[in-house]
Amino acid sequence: MAWTWFHRLASPPHVYRTAERLTPWFAWSAAILIVAGLIGGLYLSPPDYQQGDGYRILYVHAPSAWLSLLVYTTMAVAGGIGLIWRMKVAHAVAASCAPIGASFTLAALVTGSLWGKPMWGTYWQWDPRLTSELILFFLYLGYMGLRAAFDDVQRSDRISAVLAVVGVINVPIIHYSVVWWNSLHQGPSVMYLGKPTMPPSMLVPLLIMFVGFTLFFAAVLLMRLRGEVLIRERAASWVREVVHS
C-alpha cells in the first residue's frame, strides 16, 4: 500500500543506513552554498544606502532565525508523530533537533542584538518579535532539560514531545508578530508571494544562505539521528553490524 514508505521510514536500521548514506551529500552541498553565501554577502553584494556595510549581518542573522523556526517545527511535528504512531524514529528525530535549534536561536538573538545596537540604538527591546524569539529559546532549553530529567528514554520522549507540540504555537506568533503588532523589528525581508525588498545583487546571496543553512540542518540532523536511533535500540542484530564496522 502507499504506507509502505512510511513504515520503512519507521524502521531503525533503514533510517540509520539511509542517514549514513545521505549525510555527505547534504554536508558538502551545505558547505559549498554557505561559502558562496559568505563571499556574496560579505564581499560581493553592495552596501546598503542607509545601513552601509552594517546590514551584512543580515546574511547570518536571517538564516539563523529561519532555522530556529524550521527546526522547532520539525521537532514538534516529529514529536507529534512519535506520540500518535508510537514511533521511536520520530522521537529520535525530535531529540536530534533540539540542540541544533537552540544554538541557532541563540545565534539569531545575539546577531540581532549586535545589529540592533548601531541601527536601532539599542541591544534589546521587549518588542513582540524579540520577546517571542527569546521565549522560543527557553522552550528549546526546557525541552532539553525535560529530556534529561528522565532516565527512561521512552518516557522522556513522550513528555518532551508534549512540550514540543504545546510550544509550536510560538512559531506562527514569532513569524507574524511584525505583522500583527506594532514592533521595533521590521517586517519580513523575504516573502514568497510579495515583492522582493531588495535588488538581486543583495537578495541572491541571502537566498543562497537560506538554502545552505537548511542543508546544514539536514546534515547535522542526519548525523545526530544515527546516534539517537542507536540509543533507542535494544541490542538488535543490525546494531551489531553497525557497531563493529
Binding site: 541601527m119 540604538g121 521590521q186
Partner: protein
C-alpha cells in the same frame, strides 16, 4: 476508537487548546502587550495618563530642531493623521532622520509635549545600494548628510510645540 486514533485526537486537542488559550490571552492583554502607540492613539487618549509609554511614527519632515550648544533636540512624530511634538536630550541613533521611522519612550507632559528618555530609529525591511532612487523603497538619503537634518527655524519649532497634538 483505536488507541492510535485516541492519541491523534489528544495531540490535536492539545494544539487546539493551546492556540485558543494563547489567542484569548493575547487579545485580553492587548492594551498591555502594545509595544508602542501611534500619535492618533495618543491624541484619542488611548494611553493611561501619567504613565511612561512608547510612541512610534515618522519624524515629520522639517521638524527637527537642535538647540545649539546642547544635546537637546525637538522634533515631531507623525502618523500623517496626528502630530505629537517631542523633546529629547541625548545622543540620537545613527539612523535617526526626517521622514524615517522612530520609536520614542517617555511621558506626556501636561502641555501636550512628549518628553522622551529614549529615542530609537526604526527602519523598514527594504535594502538597496546607494544611488538607485525610488526603486527599492523611500529614499531617506544618507544619514550622514547634515543637510538632511537641517534645523527648522526657532519660530516654526515653537509653533509646532504650541500646537501640540491638537491637530
Amino acid at each position: 476508537m483505536t488507541p492510535r486514533r485516541r492519541r491523534l485526537v489528544l495531540v490535536l486537542g492539545i494544539l487546539t487548546g493551546v492556540s485558543i488559550a494563547g489567542g484569548l490571552a493575547l487579545s485580553a492583554f492587548r492594551q498591555n502587550v502594545t509595544f508602542y502607540f501611534v500619535p492618533t492613539q495618543v491624541a484619542d487618549g488611548k494611553v493611561h495618563p501619567g504613565e511612561s509609554f512608547r510612541m512610534g511614527g515618522l519624524v515629520a519632515k522639517g521638524s527637527v530642531y537642535r538647540k545649539p550648544g546642547s544635546l537637546e533636540v525637538h522634533f515631531t512624530v507623525t502618523d500623517f493623521k496626528h502630530q505629537v511634538p517631542v523633546i529629547y536630550t541625548g545622543v540620537l541613533p545613527d539612523l535617526f532622520r526626517e521622514n524615517a521611522g522612530v520609536i520614542v519612550h517617555g511621558k506626556m507632559l501636561p502641555d501636550g509635549v512628549f518628553l522622551a528618555d529614549q529615542v530609537l530609529a526604526k527602519h523598514d525591511q527594504n535594502y538597496r545600494p546607494p544611488g538607485i532612487h525610488q526603486k527599492w523603497g523611500i529614499d531617506h538619503g544618507d544619514p550622514r548628510d547634515p543637510a538632511l537634518n537641517a534645523p527648522a527655524n526657532r519660530a516654526a519649532a515653537q509653533v509646532a510645540l504650541n500646537a501640540g497634538s491638537a491637530q
